[in-house]
């Protein structure tokens, strides 16, 4: 009887807390076009799989009349559930409770689930929807952020960390997502910036809207801070689930294997790439032509589009694809594309995902803006990431591979395990036009018809050097293959590298150029 009453009491308590900031605040949240934190978790995880922890946590702030305020769950929900059966730790900030502001206990709940995720070796998903630091709690709030950042770094490369920006995420708060592996943003809902429009107006006199400063499009197209963009929260959750299906639960495992599937017949690898290396095509079609079921999950789709990165499967096993994109800026490496590729390669390496690289690039983007923006140090990231990676590395040179770009794009010299080249591949220090202009400068200048001589010399150079056989003769590439053989040989490469192991000198960590 007594216990029965206590159970009733518990139920009542739960009911109140589960309402978060109350019905009025929930209505406001919905009016902003947003789901509530609990609805988001429900939409994300397998049905009935979520268990919440720390429901009864309360803040202990005393200043500024905070002792008179009750903040249910202290503005954040933590717990664990499953996605496609994979265990997942989650925290979701509840904007209906004090604007999702981060106080000491709010932060302690987040760090608790982060520690839990690390201990149990499962992915962590953080849903961010917060006005920022809870000013009333002063330095305790800052301490909370610091504790989160420290754990983001500790967890990095051990468990996958995913950040979902479903509301404001401003000031210092942005650094937790920035330290995680993948950032998801949603049109009109996500807002991320270090200093907001008001501060910018006061200090600099510049007027800019929140959307133009740090909206979803800005971060997926201009800043590169976001990896996945969607039009709605529902679409965003589908993207997260898809990503989860491709990655392992932690760095000691491999991603879950799927039943192998052939690529779709509409992607005919023999008909995608034009012979002339100066003509464009979409490298994603090549990726789809070799990937299982032509399924490709592209990462950072609209930022630095001159390189394409993302996940697919080969015979059921997750692989990371990297490919120069001749469709945009002829597929050159530049500051942003180097950054994008290097980071993706490091992700794959940390989580035991083999890397398949498709090479077709004229080199680096020329320009004072590029040099001044540090294309040297950014370009070096690609070399570093590929050299450092110990997962199976398979490379296919489709057409051009010139100069430093050839070396950087997972060449044999950076310890690619297999390098294949198509018969039309041009592996050379530079393109035939540039090379002929330098080597035969005198002959061209003194000829009766310099233009004719130039064309002749370009042709000569092309025949002698702009082919895969010079590199094949040195063993720099393993095999010159027919385009139609590409998938077969990549599958072979994946099959035989299952037990790849490499002995490296003992070190604390390297010093990559970032």
């Amino acid at each position: 009887m007594a216990l029965g009453r206590k159970i009733e009491e518990l139920k009542k308590k739960r009911e109140i807390i589960l309402l978060g900031g109350g019905e009025e605040a929930i209505e406001k949240q919905v009016a902003m076009g947003k789901l509530t934190a609990r609805a988001r978790i429900k939409a994300l995880v397998d049905k009935n799989s979520f268990t919440e922890y720390d429901l009864f946590v309360e803040h202990d702030a005393r200043d500024f009349d905070m002792d008179k305020k009750t903040l249910h769950g202290d503005g954040v929900i933590i717990g664990a559930g499953t996605i496609f059966g994979a265990p997942i730790s989650i925290f979701a900030q509840d904007f209906t409770v004090a604007g999702g502001s981060l106080g000491a206990m709010h932060a302690r709940k987040i760090t608790k689930i982060m520690d839990h995720a690390l201990k149990m070796k499962m992915p962590l998903i953080g849903i961010n929807d917060s006005g920022g630091a809870r000013i009333q709690e002063g330095v305790n709030s800052l301490a909370g952020y610091g504790e989160i950042f420290w754990r983001n770094t500790l967890n990095s490369g051990v468990i996958p960390q995913i950040s979902v920006i479903l509301g404001p995420c401003a000031g210092g708060a942005v650094y937790s997502p920035a330290l995680t592996d993948f950032v998801f943003v949603v049109e009109k809902i996500s807002k991320m910036f270090i200093t907001g429009p008001e501060v910018i107006k006061t200090v600099l006199g510049e007027e800019i809207s929140m959307e133009d400063l740090g909206g979803a499009r800005v971060h997926s197209e201009i800043s590169g801070n976001a990896h996945f963009y969607s039009e709605s929260e529902a679409e965003c959750f589908e993207q997260i689930k898809k990503l989860i299906s491709f990655i392992p639960w932690n760095n000691l495992q491999k991603a879950k294997k799927f039943p192998p599937k052939d690529p779709k017949p509409e992607y005919n690898i023999e008909k995608i790439v034009p012979d002339d290396p100066r003509q464009p095509y979409d490298i994603r079609d090549v990726i789809r032509a070799v990937a299982d079921d032509s399924d490709f999950l592209e990462v950072q789709k609209k930022w630095a589009e001159n390189i394409v990165v993302g996940f697919g499967r080969m015979a059921g096993e997750t692989v990371g694809f990297v490919g120069n994109q001749p469709l945009v800026l002829a597929g050159v490496l530049d500051v942003d594309s180097s950054d994008k590729a290097a980071r993706f390669v490091r992700y794959c390496d940390a989580f035991n995902i083999p890397i398949i690289t498709f090479v077709d690039l004229p080199g680096y983007l020329p320009g004072a803006d590029q040099e001044h923006a540090g294309v040297i140090r950014h370009g070096a990231k690609v070399l570093y990431a590929y050299s450092e990676a110990t997962v199976p590395k398979l490379t296919v040179i489709l057409r051009k591979a010139y100069g430093g770009g050839y070396i950087a794009m997972a060449s044999r010299h950076l310890r690619a395990d297999y390098v294949f080249a198509w018969p039309g591949a041009e592996i050379a220090v530079m393109g035939p036009e540039g090379a002929a202009n330098i080597i035969f400068r005198k002959e061209i200048a003194t000829a009766d018809d310099p233009e004719k001589m130039r064309r002749q010399k370009v042709k000569e150079y092309k025949q002698k050097f702009a082919n895969p056989y010079v590199a094949a003769a040195r063993g720099y590439i393993d095999s010159v293959i027919e385009p139609a053989e590409t998938r077969k040989l990549l599958l072979h490469g994946i099959d035989v590298s299952g037990n790849k192991s490499i002995y490296l000198p003992n070190k604390k960590h390297g010093i990559p150029p970032f």
Partner: protein, 123 residues
Amino acid sequence: MEKKKESRQSTGDKKPRFKSLIIDGSKYRTYYNRKFENRKEYKIRDPYKIVSYIPGTVLKVIAKEGQEVHKGDTALILDAMKMKNRIVFERGAIVKAIHVAEGEKVPKDYLMIELSPVPGQNQ
């Protein structure tokens, strides 16, 4: 300006148009991306023009038109980012024109002071 806005769409949702990009003498048919379209052309800095490196408010103008100034002299005080920044002359010169007044808000890269060489001095 309008034209630039249109070209921003080049890799966006609208149908982009192929352009050419020349690298090492080879001409490639390709799309440009937004960053490339909006890149700033490099301009050699004119040492006889003092431009604001940051937006701010001119707090005090110390130099006077027609005055001969020396390297290290203060030209003006620019209040920006809650700091009173002393803008100094990087070389000896004659102040040809001052384009800002005390209390004036200036944007970034705004021409504040023009100089001319000191007659008879090799620069």
